[in-house]
């Protein structure tokens, strides 16, 4: 007779000493894991709830400016250093890890309009209302020496923005014209104007480094090639755009923030209509900056909020606001893709997490695995109504909430009216215009 039955040695299943870790034999047989989908769904629901529970995006506030913060620049080499310029002409250097001001410089009389750091990180440039461009050393002055700019250029008109080339000693300013400067010369090497009286922003393309884009006050966005003497082309929109930012990964896309509460992502190669219209703000959008991964961007608005949009999403995935934050004037996404900096009217620079529920600090391997698992579960069940409802909910200040509702009503009314007009007109005389086409007036080559 031969009998074969189970005979387990308990020593194979329990740990040898109390200092050892527990043994966990696995068997992935689906019949041993019943209710796979309902259990995963429950886990996904819990993960979504926990994500909202832990969504505490505000990290720190850097105070010290004596007037509204007008511009922020990232240091091109150091992650923890940030430069900011205020409306009283003061420029401050901040250390983000210590959350303290390293140095302050009274750079200009009147507003500091633009600030940018040199690609090597050794110096930075500022432009101000006093019609000057100043170059400053990044390090503090020697003992007993006064804060003096390395170089000062006196221009003919007020400058409103500045951006430095990625790898060469040239920079671009905008004001009444877009000027290209050599660092070693006191007059611009090239000057562009296209029947426009003033510009609000100029930005170098991060990949095609000789290309530039600028926002002009005649509601147009103009593209330039630095090597040519005339601008390339421009697109005229219904309302003026304030700033623009190139996508650092797909550098043929740029996003501009507009006065009509929207943001528009354009493909440089085809300006006839924007690739995507990003809506959600309830007031003029003042600034925009891309994440270094190029997948998302952040926008600052006059409605006292900042919003994070996916690059190909029409609506924001996140909105940040606090009671004390006033009109947000400038915003930057940090180079490590983890933080967002916002400068606002009430003299503070705020540091936010880019991912609201992220845990800061070093994570253990188990924590990381759990986070990834939860993320995957949330993705898997994101379209279930319960999960979506929790994931989408954001608290908004009452004013913004009401304004949002009002805007929605206005828009509905407009669509309704348009439909009625179309219905009672000759067929084809009132064409259907998509949201993307609506905001572009014309493209000029």
């Amino acid at each position: 007779m031969k009998v074969k039955v189970l005979c387990r040695n308990p020593d194979d299943y329990v740990r040898e000493t109390t200092r050892d870790i527990q043994r966990v034999p696995r068997n992935y047989d689906p019949t041993l894991h019943p209710f796979e989908v309902p259990r995963e769904y429950t886990r996904a629901l819990n993960a979504t709830k926990l994500e909202r529970v832990f969504a505490k995006p505000f990290v720190a506030s850097l105070d010290g400016h004596r007037d509204g913060v007008n511009c922020i620049a990232k240091h091109s080499k150091s992650l923890s250093t940030v430069l900011s310029g205020a409306c009283d002409g003061e420029v401050k250097l901040w250390n983000l890890s210590k959350r303290e001001c390293l140095r302050s410089v009274q750079a200009h009389e009147g507003f500091v309009r633009g600030i940018c750091s040199r690609f090597c990180g050794s110096s930075f440039f500022t432009v101000g209302d006093d019609k000057t461009i100043k170059q400053w050393k990044m390090g503090p002055p020697g003992y007993g020496l006064k804060e003096e700019p390395l170089n000062t250029i006196l221009g003919k008109a007020v400058f409103t923005g500045i951006d430095h080339h990625q790898s060469e000693g040239t920079f671009a300013t905008c004001g009444q014209t877009v000027d290209i400067w050599d660092e070693l010369r006191s007059s611009p090497i090239r000057s562009f104007s296209w029947g426009v009286d003033s510009f609000s922003c100029v930005r170098y393309n991060p990949v095609e480094t000789e290309l530039l884009a600028s926002c002009a006050s005649d509601r147009s966005i103009i593209l330039y090639d630095m090597r040519e003497s005339t601008p390339l082309k421009k697109v005229i929109m219904k309302l003026k755009s304030n700033t623009l930012c190139w996508n650092p990964m797909e550098a043929y896309y740029f996003t501009c923030s507009s006065e009509d509460y929207n943001l528009y992502t354009y493909d440089m190669r085809c300006l006839d209509s924007p690739v995507r219209v990003h809506m959600d703000h309830v007031s003029a959008v003042l600034d925009v900056d891309y994440s270094p991964t190029g997948k998302e961007f952040v926008s600052a608005s006059f409605d006292k909020t900042i919003r994070i949009f996916p690059k190909d999403g029409g609506h924001s995935r996140e909105v940040y606001h606090t009671k004390r934050m006033q009109h947000v004037i400038c915003v930057k996404w940090s180079a490590d893709n983890k933080y967002i900096l916002s400068g606002s009217d009430e003299m503070n620079i705020r540091l936010w997490k880019a991912n609201a529920s992220e845990k800061l600090g070093v994570l253990t391997a188990r924590e990381k695995a759990a986070l990834h698992y939860n993320q995957k579960l949330r993705d898997k069940f994101q379209h279930h109504p319960q999960v979506r409802r929790i994931a989408r909910h954001r608290h908004l200040p009452r004013g913004i909430f009401r304004q949002k509702r009002e805007l929605k009503e206005i828009k509905e009314a407009q669509t309704r009216k348009e439909q009625n007009v179309r219905k009672h007109s000759k067929p084809g005389s009132v064409p259907l215009v998509t949201e993307r086409e609506k905001h572009v007036v014309t493209v000029v080559e």
């Binding site: 308990p10 299943y13 966990v24 034999p25 041993l32």
Partner: protein, 490 residues
């Protein structure tokens, strides 16, 4: 004597000439000397094992799908393929072997004494709960025979473990009581009266009770709330089983029907006629087979997924208690004999039992010990445990670990409570939640009408106006309206 290397080099010059002639044969030799892997790549996985881990059908991306969606679909498909491959490959590493009986021997003639002499059992602790006809409730660790508690409630009882070995529920003559493992009464639930049978749904933390008054009640043991009370209107409910695949409760009735219940519906999900006489006992397998025995002395196997009868056997004495093991071994008690059938579900019809054993009194209940080769038999003279090769050899410690420590149990309890499945999710198909909701337009419209209270798309019914004079007769007005009707619909 072996040659030294210099001897060979000296000869080498001489050899060159000789080798030139046999150049081709030399090349072949060098090829043979090169080591090649005779089994390149990963070891192939048997088709059958791959099938075991397959979830759903393979998706073929339809032609004309947009690039973005196509990429997402192919990526997710690759991910599930990888998961299937890896778990099938991991299956090779499972050490505990499945059971095997004897060869060329009439297995049902071997006595338990012989088996007990032949094998040696040492195993992790497991807890056993016994309820006597006269109200004797005992819980013991059955391997060490340590008594954990012993109480006598002096009434007829039915008892069952709750989610862990720390608590058990006892249905006494009048009410439902909950005791802890040391025998202290924790709760007396007077809402649950005259309970005859109980089932615990471990992933839902639900205690389902069937009472003499025909009520099927669900108690959520994690919060202590009654989830549902269903008047089945089927008389005394003393045959009950749960389907471990979808947590549906099966009830057997004296008129030969079996009804399937979920807490979300006041009506049975399914009602099937199984026997000519009353249903005596039933049990459900985790893979979707139901075995019933009735007063017509028949034992029937049903496929619950398709609601089809598979086999029917005639047992001369009829089976009073049925139980299915994790590996699909069926035990049936007829009078004082416990019979075991192998491959009763699925395979070819079984003609004779795999094993049999006569106990000292009439059998009242049988139950397999999970993850062990042991069958517990409660009978008129006491309790007997039998060795039957039936248990799942490889357990998953993250799901159910018989060797877990106190700390592990506590952690498991917290996790299990966090992912408690809501009773609303109990349905015949537990994977329903993961499927795409392909509700038809009519279905959606019907739901919308129900939610809104009226039909928003309905057009006013045409009512001809009774006009006695004028050219605009009802017919011509209707014609004019029909001309623009399609524009209205837009």
């Amino acid at each position: 004597a072996p040659k030294r290397y210099w001897e060979e080099t000296q000869n080498a010059t001489k050899k060159v000439e000789a080798e030139k002639s046999s150049d081709e044969s030399k090349q072949e030799n060098t090829d043979k000397e090169k080591k090649t892997d005779p089994f390149p790549g990963d070891a192939p996985i048997p088709e059958e094992r791959m099938k075991k881990f397959q979830r759903g059908n393979k998706l073929e991306v339809p032609a004309g799908t947009r690039l973005k969606l196509r990429e997402t679909l192919t990526r997710s498909e690759a991910g599930s393929d990888l998961a299937q491959n890896q778990s099938a490959r991991y299956d090779l590493l499972l050490t505990e072997d499945a059971l095997e009986g004897e060869e060329d021997e009439d297995t049902c003639t071997i006595s338990q004494e012989d088996i007990a002499e032949a094998v040696d059992i040492t195993s992790g602790s497991k807890h056993l709960l016994l309820g006597g006809r006269r109200g004797h409730v005992t819980c013991i660790e059955w391997q060490t025979k340590n008594l954990m508690c012993e109480i006598n409630v002096m009434e007829t009882v039915q008892d069952i473990w709750l989610h862990s070995e720390a608590m058990f529920a006892v249905a006494q003559k009048k009410w439902l009581h909950i005791y802890d493992s040391s025998g202290v009464e924790l709760h007396c639930i007077k809402k649950f009266n005259d309970v005859l049978r109980m089932q615990f749904l471990p992933y839902h933390f639900l205690l389902a009770t069937a009472s003499a008054t025909g009520f099927l009640q669900y108690l959520d043991v994690s919060v202590g709330k009654e989830v549902a009370a269903i008047p089945t209107r089927c008389g005394r409910l003393d045959v009950m089983a749960q389907n471990p695949y979808n947590a549906v409760i099966h009830l057997g009735h004296p008129n030969g029907t079996v009804t399937l219940w979920s807490p979300n519906q006041k009506e049975p999900l399914v009602k099937m006629l199984c026997h000519r006489g009353g249903v005596r006992s039933l049990t459900v397998d985790k893979t979707g087979y139901m075995v019933t025995s009735g007063l017509d002395r028949k034992l029937k196997v049903y496929d619950i997924r398709a609601f089809k009868p598979l086999h029917s056997f005639f047992l001369p004495a009829g089976a009073s208690c049925l139980s299915l093991s994790q590996r699909g071994l069926l035990s049936a008690a007829t009078g004082d004999i416990v019979q075991m059938y192998r491959d009763a579900c699925g395979g070819a019809p079984v003609t004779k039992p795999y094993m049999a054993h006569r106990v000292r009194g009439t059998v009242w209940g049988v139950g397999f010990c999970p993850f062990e080769d042991v069958l517990g038999v409660g009978h008129a003279e006491g309790f007997t445990s039998m060795i039957v090769p039936s248990g799942e050899p490889n357990f998953d410690a993250l799901d159910m670990n018989p060797y877990r420590s106190t700390k592990q149990r506590q952690e498991w309890e917290v996790k299990a409570l966090l992912e408690k499945v809501q009773p609303e999710l109990i349905s015949l198909d537990p994977g329903m939640l993961g499927k795409v909701d392909n509700a038809t337009f009519e279905q959606k419209h019907k739901e919308r009408v129900e939610a809104v209270g009226y039909d928003p798309l309905a057009h006013k019914k045409f009512k001809p106006r009774m006009r006695k004079r004028g050219r605009s007769s009802a017919g011509s007005v209707e014609k004019r309206k029909n001309k623009v009707a399609h524009e209205e619909l837009k």
